[in-house]
C-alpha cells in the first residue's frame, strides 16, 4: 500500500488587493483563485494537472512548493506542510518551471550540476555517481561541457530535468516542460519522465496544455477550471466519459456506398476511404461496424479515441459544476 505523496484538503486561495480605478481612487478586489480543492496523490503516481490560463493550476503548484501561503484549507507534501517547512521539503522535491531555467546560461550544464551539489549538500562521491547516471540516462554526454546558451531547446530541457533530479527528490513538479519543443524532443522528454516515474517510483506532478504530454506521461489527469477541480480520473476514463465517441477510419477495396446513420458523422470522404466520428451513446460501435462492412469490401479498419485536445476543450467549455 503506497504512501500519500501529496494531499490537499479544501485548499483555498483568495487574492486580496487594491487596484487603481481612477486618478486617486483605489478599488478593493478579491479574486478566488483556488476554491477549496481536495485531492490525494500516492507515491509513484504520475498526475497531469491541466486547465486553461487563470484556472488556478499555477497557484496550486506555488502553494504545494511552499512559495505561496493559502487562505484556507490544508495541504501536505510528503507529510510536510509546504509553506511552513519549505526548507526541509526542498530536499525532497524538485521543480522544473517553464519560464525560468536553473541552468546558468553562459556556462556548461556540468557547472550548474556542481553548484547544485553544493546547494543541496550532496557528498562528492554520491554526486558523481548520481550525475553520471543522469548523464547516461538523459544522454547529455555530447553537450555536458557546452555553454547552455549554445544548446537547442530540447537539449536544454533534458539538462534542466536532469538538474532537478540531481538531489534524488521523491516528487517532481513540472510546469509546462514541453513548450516550444519539436516533436522528437518532446517525445524524448516525455519518455524520460515516464521512465523515471516507472523505474524509480518518482511521483510526477505535471502541468501542461499539450494533450500528448498527458497521454504519454500520466495515467491520471486532474482538470481544474475557475479554481475548482472539474475532473479527477484516469486518462482513459476521461476520454471515454466526456466524449462518448470514437474515430473510425476505413479503407475500402472499391468505392463504398454512402452511409447515413444516427450518431455517425462523416469527417472525411475520399474515393476509397471514410473517416467517421461515432457518438457511441447513440450508435453502439458494433452496429456502426456492421453497417460499414456492408458498404464495400473493407481493406483496413481502425478504431481510435478522439484526440485529447478535443476532450479537454469540451471539458473547459462546461459550466462550473457546483459540488
Amino acid at each position: 500500500m503506497a504512501n500519500v505523496a501529496v494531499e490537499l484538503e479544501d485548499l483555498r486561495k483568495v487574492f486580496d488587493f487594491s487596484v487603481p480605478t481612477g486618478f486617486l481612487r483605489r478599488e478593493h478586489r478579491e479574486v478566488l483563485a483556488v476554491d477549496s480543492i481536495s485531492l490525494k496523490v500516492l507515491e509513484g503516481q504520475s498526475v497531469a494537472f491541466i486547465g486553461p490560463n487563470g484556472a488556478g493550476k499555477s497557484t496550486t503548484i506555488k502553494m504545494l512548493t511552499g512559495i505561496l501561503h493559502p487562505s484556507g484549507g490544508r495541504a501536505t507534501v510528503l507529510g510536510k506542510i509546504p509553506w511552513l517547512e519549505r526548507g526541509k521539503l526542498a530536499f525532497e522535491i524538485g521543480a522544473v518551471f517553464g519560464q525560468r531555467s536553473q541552468l546558468w546560461l553562459h556556462l556548461p550544464p556540468n557547472d550548474t550540476f556542481e553548484l547544485l551539489a553544493r546547494i543541496y549538500n550532496i557528498p562528492k562521491l554520491e554526486f558523481k555517481k548520481r550525475r553520471d547516471e543522469l548523464v547516461e540516462r538523459f544522454k547529455l554526454e555530447a553537450f555536458l561541457e557546452t555553454p547552455v546558451r549554445k544548446l537547442s531547446l530540447g537539449q536544454r530541457m533534458r539538462a534542466e530535468v536532469a538538474a532537478s533530479l540531481l538531489h534524488h527528490p521523491k516528487v517532481l513538479f513540472l510546469d509546462e516542460p514541453t513548450i516550444g519543443l519539436d516533436v522528437i524532443a518532446r517525445q524524448e522528454l516525455r519518455d524520460l519522465v515516464r521512465e523515471w516515474n516507472v523505474s524509480q517510483g518518482l511521483t510526477v506532478f505535471l502541468t501542461s496544455h499539450d494533450a500528448g504530454d498527458i497521454e504519454h506521461v500520466s495515467k491520471r489527469v486532474i482538470v481544474i477550471n475557475h479554481g475548482q477541480i472539474v475532473l479527477d480520473d484516469k486518462v482513459s476514463a476521461m476520454r471515454r466519459a466526456y466524449i462518448g465517441s470514437k474515430i473510425l477510419e476505413v479503407k475500402f477495396g472499391t468505392p463504398p456506398l454512402s452511409l447515413e446513420m444516427r450518431g455517425v458523422k462523416i469527417l472525411k470522404r475520399t474515393e476509397y476511404a471514410l473517416k467517421l466520428e461515432v457518438d457511441t451513446r447513440i450508435a453502439p460501435i458494433e452496429s456502426v461496424m456492421n453497417a460499414v462492412l456492408q458498404l464495400a469490401p473493407v481493406a483496413d479498419i481502425s478504431i481510435e479515441d478522439p484526440p485529447l485536445e478535443e476532450v479537454i476543450a469540451h471539458i473547459y467549455g462546461q459550466e462550473k459544476v457546483v459540488a
Binding site: H69, R86, N121
Partner: protein, 265 residues
C-alpha cells in the same frame, strides 16, 4: 555553528567561481569594466586629495585620509558587489516574481539569493581599494588588520543596506530607482569628513544612511588605531544587518501572500 559557517563559505566560494567563470566568457567586457572602475576610483581620489590639500577645513582630512576612505570604502563596497551582487537586484527580483525560484532551494532565502550574481566593476573596486591602501598608505600591521576588518564589515553593511532599500519593493511596488538613489546617496555621504555634518545630519549618517560606518569611523579608527571606534563600527554593522533580516522577512510575508501584484498566472 562553525561548520554551518564553513558550509556557507564554501557555497559562497562556489558561486563566486561560477559567477567569475560566466563573466570571463566575455573577457574583454570583464576587463574593461574592472579597469574602468579602477581608473574611475583613481580619478576621484586624485581630485579630492588635491581639493583637501588646497582647501583646509577645520577637522578636515589630509590626503592620506582621503586615500584611506576611498580605499576602504571601495574595497568594502566592492566585496559586497563581488560576492553578494544579487542584493542590488532585489527590487527587480520581487516585481518580476523571480524570488520564487530561489525559494525552492533548501537554503535560507536571504543568504542564498544574494550569492547569485557578481559584478565585474565591483572587482575593480576591490582591486583598487587594496592596492591603493597597501601601496600608497603603507600601513603598519595594526592598521593593515583594521583595514581588512573594515572591508569585511563594510561589505556586510552595504549588502544589508541594499537589502533594506530593495525591500521597499515588497511594500511599494516598483522601487528600483529609489533603492539606487539611496545607494548613491549613501556612497556619496561616506566619502566626506565627519566634521561636515552636525546635529540632525550627523544623526542620519549613523542611522538612515549609515555613512559614518563606511567612511568617517573606519578612517578615524585606522588613522588613530582607535579600539572604541572599531567596536562602534562593528556594533553598528551588526545592528543594521539584523534590521535588514527583519525587514526582508517581513516583506517576504507579503510576497508569499501573493497579494503583491495582480495575479501572476
Amino acid at each position: 555553528m562553525i561548520s554551518r559557517f564553513q558550509n556557507y563559505a564554501s557555497l559562497a566560494a562556489s558561486y563566486f567561481r561560477l559567477n567569475l567563470s560566466a563573466m570571463l566568457e566575455y573577457r574583454a567586457a570583464f576587463w574593461s569594466q574592472v579597469l574602468a572602475m579602477f581608473f574611475n576610483n583613481v580619478i576621484w581620489v586624485l581630485f579630492w586629495s588635491i581639493f583637501f590639500s588646497r582647501f583646509k577645513i577645520v577637522n578636515g582630512w589630509t590626503a592620506n585620509d582621503v586615500l584611506t576612505v576611498w580605499a576602504v570604502g571601495s574595497a568594502g563596497i566592492g566585496l559586497s558587489g563581488a560576492f553578494f551582487g544579487n542584493a542590488g537586484q532585489l527590487p527587480r527580483l520581487i516585481t518580476q516574481g523571480q524570488l520564487d525560484v530561489w525559494m525552492l532551494y533548501p537554503r535560507s532565502l536571504l543568504s542564498h539569493f544574494v550569492l547569485g550574481r557578481s559584478s565585474a566593476s565591483a572587482s575593480g573596486d576591490v582591486l583598487f581599494g587594496y592596492i591603493a591602501f597597501f601601496a600608497l598608505v603603507q600601513p603598519n600591521l595594526e592598521r593593515s588588520l583594521l583595514f581588512v576588518l573594515f572591508t569585511v564589515s563594510i561589505m556586510i553593511l552595504f549588502t544589508a543596506f541594499r537589502i533594506m532599500a530593495g525591500s521597499f519593493a515588497f511594500f511599494l511596488g516598483s522601487a528600483s530607482n529609489l533603492a539606487t538613489a539611496l545607494e548613491f546617496a549613501l556612497i556619496s555621504l561616506s566619502t566626506y569628513p565627519s566634521a561636515l555634518f552636525e546635529g540632525a545630519a550627523k544623526f542620519i549618517t549613523f542611522t538612515l544612511l549609515p555613512a559614518a560606518f563606511i567612511g568617517a569611523l573606519p578612517v578615524e579608527a585606522i588613522r588613530d588605531i582607535n579600539l572604541e571606534k572599531t567596536v562602534l563600527v562593528l556594533f553598528g554593522t551588526l545592528v543594521f544587518a539584523a534590521l535588514s533580516v527583519i525587514v526582508f522577512y517581513a516583506g517576504l510575508k507579503r510576497y508569499e501572500s501573493g497579494n503583491l501584484l495582480e495575479m501572476r498566472s
